[in-house]
C-alpha cells in the first residue's frame, strides 16, 4: 500500500522528483569527486612507499621522518644485514630531476630515485628488464611516463639536474617499465644507486662524500609480522636511526595528514549539506501535503502506511539520484585526461555510495515525524 502510494505520487510528479534526484546526483558527484581526489592525491604522494617491497624503512633519527632531510650512510647496510630476522636491505636515494623531450614537448618533473639492483627499493619490472649494474646509465621508468609520454623500452631519455647553478644533462637507457610508482606527486625514474649519487642535483660538483649516503634504507624482514619487534631491534643495534613501517613513513610525509584531513572534512560537510538539503526538500513537500495526509488518515490510513510512504519516496529518490551521480562520476573520471590525481577505488567508492544512500532517510526523518503528527481534523480544517 505504502509502495503503491509512494510510486504513484512519484510517477505523477515525475518532473519534480526527477529534479530532486538530480540535486542528489550532483551532491553524489561532488562527494565522490572529493573522495576520489583525496584518494588520488594520497596515492600520488605515497604510491612508491606504499608499494615498496620492504616492511620497514630506516630513517636518520631526529629528522621527523623526512625523506629529504634523512641521511643514512651505506656503511650501515652491513650492520643491518647481520641482524637476525632481516632478510635484505636496500639503499634508496630521492631527488628531483626533469625529463627533457627532444620534440619541444614541455619537460616533465620526475622523482629521480636511486636504488640498488635486486635489493628492496627496486620496483618490479613489467616490461623490459630490470637494472643489472650498479653504476650504468640505465633506467626503469614509471608506467605513467610510459603511457602518457610514449616512452618505450630501448628509448634513450634525457634527464636534467642542476648542479651548482648549471644545468646538467644525462642520457639514460630505458631498460624496463614498472607500474605506477609516484613519489611526492611525481612519476619516478629509477637508476642504479651509484649513478644516482653522481647525477643527482647537488650544491656543487664533486661534493659527494667519500662514503655513499642514502636517504633511507628499505628493510625486508624474514617474518613480515614482526614489524614492531624488528623496528625496535634495529634501532637498538644500529646507532642514529629511526625505523618505521611503510604506513607511518608516508603518513609523515609533508602535508599528507593535513591534506587528507582537509579533504575528509570537505567530504563530511558535503554529506551534511546533502542531509540538510534532502531533509529540507521533503519537509517542505510534507508541509504542502498536510491536507492530503489528513484525508488519508481520516479515511482510515494507518500511521505506519503514511510513514512508510514518506520513507519509501525518500529512498527511491535517493537511490535514483545516487545512481545517476555515481554513473556520471565514473564516466567523468574516465573522460578526464591522465595526470589529474583522481582515483576511484572500489572500497572507498562503495563506502561513499553507501553513506550517500543513508543521507536520504536520515534527512527525511523530520518529514516522517511531521507526517505522523498530522492531525486529520486540523488538516481538513474541521
Amino acid at each position: 500500500m505504502a509502495f503503491y502510494l509512494a510510486s504513484r505520487e512519484i510517477w505523477r510528479n515525475k518532473g519534480r522528483f526527477f529534479l530532486f534526484s538530480l540535486v542528489i546526483a550532483l551532491i553524489t558527484i561532488l562527494v565522490l569527486f572529493i573522495a576520489a581526489l583525496a584518494q588520488g592525491l594520497a596515492q600520488a604522494n605515497k604510491e612508491y612507499i606504499e608499494k615498496l617491497n620492504a616492511e620497514l624503512i630506516v630513517f636518520q633519527e631526529k629528522v621527523e621522518l623526512s625523506t629529504t632531510t634523512s641521511r643514512v650512510g651505506l656503511d650501515k647496510l652491513n650492520n643491518l644485514r647481520r641482524i637476525p630476522g632481516v632478510a635484505d636491505v636496500g639503499a634508496i636515494g630521492f631527488s628531483s630531476a626533469s625529463l627533457e623531450f627532444s620534440n619541444q614537448q614541455n619537460s616533465l618533473d620526475v622523482a629521480l630515485i636511486g636504488v640498488q639492483p635486486g635489493k628492496p627499493g627496486m620496483p618490479p619490472v613489467f616490461s623490459g628488464n630490470s637494472i643489472r649494474s650498479n653504476r650504468g646509465y640505465q633506467a626503469v621508468i614509471d608506467g605513467a611516463i610510459a603511457s602518457r609520454n610514449g616512452v618505450r623500452v630501448g628509448d634513450k631519455i634525457t634527464i636534467k639536474t642542476i648542479v651548482g647553478s648549471e644545468d646538467k644533462f644525462y642520457q639514460l637507457d630505458v631498460v624496463g617499465i614498472t607500474d605506477g610508482r609516484q613519489y611526492f606527486y611525481q612519476p619516478s625514474i629509477f637508476v642504479p644507486f651509484e649513478t644516482w649519487d653522481k647525477i643527482r642535483p647537488q650544491a656543487a660538483e664533486g661534493q659527494g662524500q667519500s662514503n655513499l649516503v642514502a636517504n633511507v634504507l628499505a628493510v625486508k624482514l624474514t617474518n613480515p609480522q614482526d614489524l614492531k619487534i624488528m623496528a625496535a631491534t634495529i634501532e637498538s643495534q644500529v646507532s642514529g636511526v629511526e625505523v618505521v613501517d611503510r604506513k607511518t613513513a608516508y603518513e609523515s610525509s609533508p602535508g599528507y595528514s593535513a591534506q587528507q584531513s582537509t579533504l575528509n572534512t570537505q567530504q563530511g560537510f558535503t554529506l551534511l549539506i546533502g542531509i540538510l538539503v534532502i531533509g529540507g526538500f521533503f519537509q517542505i513537500q510534507t508541509l504542502q501535503k498536510v491536507p492530503q495526509i489528513g484525508v488519508l488518515k481520516a479515511i482510515g490510513t494507518g500511521n505506519l502506511i503514511v510513514a512508510y510512504t514518506v520513507i519509501l519516496q525518500i529512498i527511491l529518490v535517493t537511490i535514483i539520484g545516487v545512481a545517476i551521480g555515481s554513473i556520471s562520476t565514473i564516466l567523468l573520471t574516465l573522460a578526464l585526461p591522465g595526470g589529474i590525481p583522481i582515483m576511484l577505488t572500489g572500497n572507498t567508492t562503495i563506502l561513499t555510495i553507501f553513506t550517500l544512500l543513508m543521507i536520504g532517510p536520515l534527512g527525511g526523518l523530520v518529514s516522517v515525524r511531521l507526517a505522523l503528527k498530522v492531525e486529520p481534523l486540523t488538516a481538513l480544517g474541521m
Binding site: M1, Y4, L5, R8, E9, W11, R12, N13, P291, Q292, V295, L296, K297, A298, I299, G300, T301, G302, N303, P376, L377, T378, L380, G381, M382
Partner: protein, 273 residues
C-alpha cells in the same frame, strides 16, 4: 429494524486554560439504515464537532457513540483507524481527493486500504463512477476534474467499501448551486438505495429537500428535529423560517445569532467548526 448509529447524551467539552467550552451538549440521536439526515445550524453550533466524533476523529468527553454495535469510546486509536476505513464513508468540504491518484484510483484507494481490491470490486468502482456520471473521467487526475466532479468522486469513494455510516461535511460548500443540487441528489439516492445511514452537515438549507430528517443544532444542543416531509420541504424552500431567519427563500441559511443563541459559548466552540 436496528439503528446503525446511536448516540447517548454525547458531550464534547473543549478546555483552553480556565475556559471550558461545551461544543456539543448531551446529544442523543438514532439513525436507521437507508436514512439520510441533515445536521444544520449556525456556525459554532457544534455540528462539525459532532460529525468528527461520529467519525472517531475526536473523542467524546461524555456519553456514548455506538455504530453497528461498536462503541467508539472503547476502541483504541489503531482500532478506530481500522473502524474508519471499514465502516465509515467520509466526504469533506474540499481537497477531498488524493491529487496524484486518478478518479478511479481514488475510489479504489478505499478498496486497497481494506485489501478488497479484487477485479469484482474494481468493476463495482467503475460502475459506481458511471452511475455518478463519470464514466469518461475514470483516468483523469483531480486537477482535471471540476469541483462537482471531484465531489462526486469523493462520494463514490465514501460508498465503495460498503460502509455502515456515511458522513458528509458540507459537500456543497465549494460548488455552485446547480452542481450542489446534483451532488446531494445523487448522494441521497445512493444512500437510500444501498441502505446506508447518511449524515450531511450543511449550511445550505435548500439541500434539506433530499433528506429524510433535519436535525437542527444550536449551541451544541439539538434545537429541533424535523421529521415531517412537508415541514422539511418548507424549510428547504425557506418559507417557514423566513420570519426567524435573515435569509430569503432559496438563499443560504444563516441564523441571526442574537436571536437564537442564548449563550455565547457555542461560537467559541467553533475551533474546528
Amino acid at each position: 429494524m436496528e439503528p446503525i448509529l446511536v448516540t447517548d447524551a454525547v458531550t464534547k467539552i473543549y478546555e483552553t486554560g480556565n475556559l471550558k467550552v461545551k461544543a456539543v451538549d448531551q446529544v442523543s440521536l438514532e439513525i436507521y439504515p437507508g436514512e439520510f439526515v441533515a445536521l444544520v445550524g449556525p456556525s459554532g453550533s457544534g455540528k462539525t464537532t459532532m460529525l468528527a466524533m461520529l467519525a472517531g476523529l475526536l473523542n467524546a468527553t461524555q456519553g456514548t457513540i455506538r455504530i453497528d454495535s461498536h462503541e467508539l469510546g472503547k476502541l483504541s486509536e489503531k482500532e478506530k483507524t481500522r473502524f474508519r476505513r471499514e465502516k465509515i464513508g467520509f466526504t469533506f468540504q474540499a481537497n477531498n481527493l488524493i491529487p496524484y491518484l486518478t478518479a478511479l484510483e481514488n475510489v479504489e484507494l478505499m478498496l486497497r486500504l481494506n485489501s478488497t481490491n479484487s477485479k469484482y470490486c474494481r468493476e463495482e468502482a467503475i460502475k459506481l463512477l458511471g452511475r455518478l456520471g463519470l464514466s469518461d473521467r475514470l483516468n483523469n487526475l483531480p486537477k482535471q476534474l471540476s469541483g462537482g466532479q471531484q465531489q462526486r468522486v469523493a462520494i463514490a469513494r465514501a460508498l465503495i467499501h460498503d460502509p455502515s455510516l456515511v458522513l458528509a461535511d458540507e459537500p456543497t460548500a465549494a460548488l455552485d448551486t446547480e452542481r450542489a443540487f446534483q451532488v446531494v441528489q445523487i448522494f441521497s439516492e445512493l444512500i437510500h438505495e444501498q441502505k446506508r445511514a447518511g449524515i450531511m452537515v450543511t449550511h445550505d438549507m435548500r439541500m434539506t429537500q433530499y433528506v429524510d430528517r433535519v436535525i437542527q443544532m444550536v449551541d451544541g444542543k439539538i434545537y429541533k428535529i424535523i421529521n415531517d416531509r412537508a415541514e422539511i420541504d418548507a424549510l428547504a424552500a425557506g418559507g417557514r423560517y423566513e420570519a426567524e431567519n435573515t435569509t430569503k427563500k432559496g438563499e443560504i441559511f444563516e441564523m441571526k445569532e442574537n436571536q437564537v443563541m442564548t449563550l455565547n459559548n457555542g461560537l467559541l466552540a467553533g475551533a474546528g467548526d
